[in-house]
Symmetry: C3
Subunit: 445 residues, 3 copies
């Protein structure tokens, strides 16, 4: 349970907000590289931390993440021509490169070639890097820029990995909290017939013991956690990581079914909308056709989506993947299926998650999308959520005092790896020490 | 005409508002019994007085009207499993019975069976009764609970009655005022060709004399009224009742066409939306197939509707019947029909009502849906509206002073009956004394 | 660049705002005469300066522009019967003539024929005139009424002219500023293949010289401007006029293609929506079938539209023509066409305009639709925009001091005529003195 003030502090992410400022200390996933694969292809409209941005790739392949509006009179640069090294505004032909520099003002006879004027007409831009099939952005102060993203999944060869993104109609924290909440899997994602299990989670594994013993370990990047479930004479262990402010490392289930580790990142669009980035990967070999077919089928992450231009609230459109199953169609719930096939009657793991996260009780005088955390009843099973909130609040308050978040410059998560195991013995510490991703090579730093 | 303050006082109904508190002194229709006919069937999402509730029937047939969100972390219980005596939340499996008691917390190994913890994790619930094919709810203080609903129409055998509900896109008072406004019938519902009259209202009856003489009589439950229209040498009398805060008893027209008495109740969803409950019944015998066909045809009440999950404002969806003809399609107005067939060019009595009520001039700085009552020009023909407002304001202000509304515990409306008559003589008092519904038997109390 | 206060001052137009008051000193286009061509036809719902109005033509052909709601209880008069000299409200039959006088109250037996009561029950109405195929309204103080509209295009015979109107989803000023911004034509409306030029603007004319030399001349009505573009050894001259507060006179291009002069007026619906009125005309002869086909084809003004009832914000619907290409479908942009055919990849001159105007960067804490003018970088090419703003701000501030706008009673624009020319010599003064529309005859005053 949080006070109203604490809930506001963690959920409000627009320019100038404390939590928005904390997010701006981290590299954030912005867009998939494949969405702007071709040089001079159409720009993609993003909104991150309530700021309107455009992602585009210029003629020479460089990626820019720039202010979505022209410096001249605020026309939307989405309609610009992406040509010869920059975006040329459709209104008067002003042109901007990937760094936001104004490189041409062709509509004024007196200042066309005046470098001083051009210099005064740049648009905002943010540093980007491409890693793991994702364009990442750093939106904070230049002198606080942390090392670039370096998760195990960003380092594996391209064919070993699948990345995706889609819209969740809730505040970022509602999604991120679901990620680190181990016990819900036994209920929300339970298949009544274990043979149907989408997660490879069977009655013998996750579903039977819905009250796992949870252990946390503080880490420089956030925490690692173990959820231990009884499974006959053995335990079923799941070791996962929360990397501040909102990355997860989730192990694959010990089944022949789901074949890669994975995880998510929850990037705030605004206070009420989030883009979920998901990755699946194999450290050891490329994903097989069968695995890719499974991933693209929509049963886990990503859900089935279509890419649309979507106006949110009273703002202009963004370009985003929208799930087919959503609040507007009750996530395609089938009550008969709920009686006989799975716990929810909803198909697909992510749709199941969104069905309980997007429509949570709204905070007082808030639109739907931010849950009222003053009315919760948290239990021991919520220890990971409680801990993440406590750590985030501490970071937010520290930053308000001028103390930078240590987690932003963490390098220990480079070797973090989520794992699962069936064993009668073990401990979180033991699993963490036994299973590590390889250190990045020098070239990958 | 009301002052802005008075208008706000009567139209704002959310938690903590004076009018909302007054509503909470009465039993209110919440949902049709048939919508949750089967044990363990899907719950129905309601919003009443701006509060999100779920109606469901448990395995043993008991009905619950409970808070729509889980006590744990606010997940929407609409997606819960309705199984073995309660709703089991889809997120972590917490389970709640029809009284809102938490009966299981299966996801925490330490508190699964701890009765003290369970007791602290209940969700809100309200007392319900089923009467007249409707689930009624009492949302007020327990020690102020009035006797259960007991209208004549709730007491007749099931086959004698038809009940329905649907959404009106306006504040409750705009609908309720139309109900007690006798003179509009001669205009809004007039058929230019009397033979076509949907209300059985012909030129010789309602339509000819659009300026009825209206008499009111104060009653413990609200008031009774007589509208007397000239009809050649006779009068056409209509005796109807307003039962606080928003019930109506309306007589059938003296025609072979419409065969039961009826009326409505106007239950606020929020400040801008209302669920209209309508009933038709015969005291003397079951409704015939022909009568049911007529009622279900949509020409009067209910209109033609379809049941949908509808998001209102910036809140989540509710489950409600939405009329086919609405503001978004101009109530399917046909201007040619308006010239030749009826007064409005709109088909269906309720669509005619909504066409003039939903789109009324909005109060300053209000969305459409609350009419600006500071700009009215009320006449003698509006005496019933003026009187109802006066009584409601008095009750609201009394309640603010701690004086409970006497109307809430009224029993005299048990025998109220609306009637119509064609007669050269008569008076309201005389009709009221001659025509009464039978007293409820002991078992019906 | 404007301060936030100045931007608010120019863009907020509702009742009581300074800019709204300035607009109320001018005759404003309200609706096309052809939309209410027939006596007793359906009324048309308008919203002008945030005020809800109905336009209708009565049995004798008189046009009324009246308050959209009944004086009685605020019912929407759109659903009224337009019959025998007035609108009869569908709710209780109250009747209002084109001047808003209440001429019948049929539902009250005591006051039906009471002239004193009728007089107290009028609804608001505004003076109208029909000119140029348009119904014009004057919404200001009666004693400040200026002479009726008298542009050259309003005086030519009916067959010489085409008028249209449609919705722009932005504040009025964003549209009006585009109108007087000469340089954008070389970019936004450029055809990469000159032969395809929709404006008759070819590489040799507008497109080649995107940085025209612009000259302004103060006029009693606003200003006249010349944009001079280099064209080989000649200049391409365009002389146009801005007539306060938001009328434009635009010359036809010197090509065989577009055959009439034209212009627009930008009438605020509310702060975020505008109805654009457009006219094309020939002073010398009727528009040919070929010309009308071209105009109606949608390539310039008007765009392709359909007439709909459209709810805006949280208000009721208005009747308006909505363009097929809009923000919700990204103006049907075709990126391949943008590479090979024209500058934008968008078909149609007006859709091109709206693509850059409607989605401009929103002012802080404003919905999309009002551009943030505190973040602009204006150049010499924006001199017309800067000047118009300065003049408008001066008029607004004068009016706040009680000084009436001289432009409202201007008669010099009666002879204003936009022209274009290809010539090695010339000046704005010279063109203005050489080319004038004929003075209106006495009858046209």
């Amino acid at each position: 349970m949080l006070s109203k003030e604490e809930n506001d502090l963690l959920t409000r992410v627009g320019p100038g907000t404390p939590m928005g400022s904390l997010f701006r200390r981290f590299w954030l996933p912005a867009v998939l590289s494949e969405e702007i694969a071709q040089p001079d292809s159409a720009p993609v409209r993003l909104r991150i931390l309530s700021e309107d941005l455009l992602a585009f790739r210029d003629s020479s392949g460089r990626v820019g993440l720039v202010d979505a509006y022209c410096a001249h009179r605020g026309a939307p640069l989405f309609f610009a021509r992406n040509e010869q090294g920059g975006l040329r505004c459709a209104y008067h032909g002003w042109k901007f490169d990937v760094e936001g520099n104004c490189v041409d003002i062709p509509n004024d006879c007196r200042i066309k070639d005046n470098p001083r004027v051009l210099a005064a007409c740049s648009i905002g831009s943010y540093p980007v890097v491409e890693a793991g099939g994702v364009v990442w952005v750093y939106m904070g102060p230049k002198d606080r820029m942390p090392p670039p993203p370096n998760f195990e999944w960003t380092r594996v060869p391209e064919g070993h990995r699948h990345v995706s993104r889609w819209l969740q109609r809730s505040n970022w924290l509602q999604g991120a909290e679901g990620e680190i909440d181990s016990s819900h899997i036994s209920f929300l994602h339970q298949e009544l017939d274990p043979a149907e299990s989408a997660l490879g989670v069977t009655g013998a594994d996750l579903a039977v013991d819905g009250a796992p013993v949870i252990t946390l370990k503080d880490m420089a990047y956030g925490f690692a956690s173990a959820a231990r479930r009884s499974r006959g004479e053995d335990y079923f262990w799941r070791i996962s990581q929360w990397v501040a402010p909102m990355f997860s490392l989730i192990p694959r289930a010990p089944s022949p079914f789901f074949t890669g580790s994975g995880g998510r990142a929850w990037v705030p669009v605004d206070d009420y909308n989030t883009v979920t980035f998901a990755y699946s990967f194999r450290p050891d070999r490329p994903l097989s056709d069968e695995e890719l077919e499974l991933i693209n089928g929509g049963a886990h992450f990503p859900p089935r989506t279509r890419k649309v231009a979507l106006a949110l609230g009273d703002r202009g459109p963004i370009d985003v993947f929208v799930p087919e199953a959503g609040m507007d169609n009750d996530y395609m719930i089938d009550r008969q299926m709920q009686r006989t096939r799975n716990f929810t009657g909803i198909w697909g793991v992510n749709a199941q998650d969104r069905s309980v996260q997007e429509g949570m009780r709204a905070a007082p005088s808030s639109p739907i999308g931010i849950v009222d955390r003053t009315k919760e009843r948290l239990m021991g099973s919520d220890i990971a959520i409680v801990t993440a909130r406590r750590k985030l609040l501490a970071m937010v308050k520290d930053l308000q005092q001028g103390i930078e978040p240590a987690a932003a410059s963490d390098v220990t998560h480079y070797t973090a790896r989520a794992i699962s195991s069936i064993s009668a013995t073990g401990s979180l510490d033991q699993y963490l020490s036994e299973y590590e991703a390889p250190q990045p090579s020098h070239a990958e730093h």
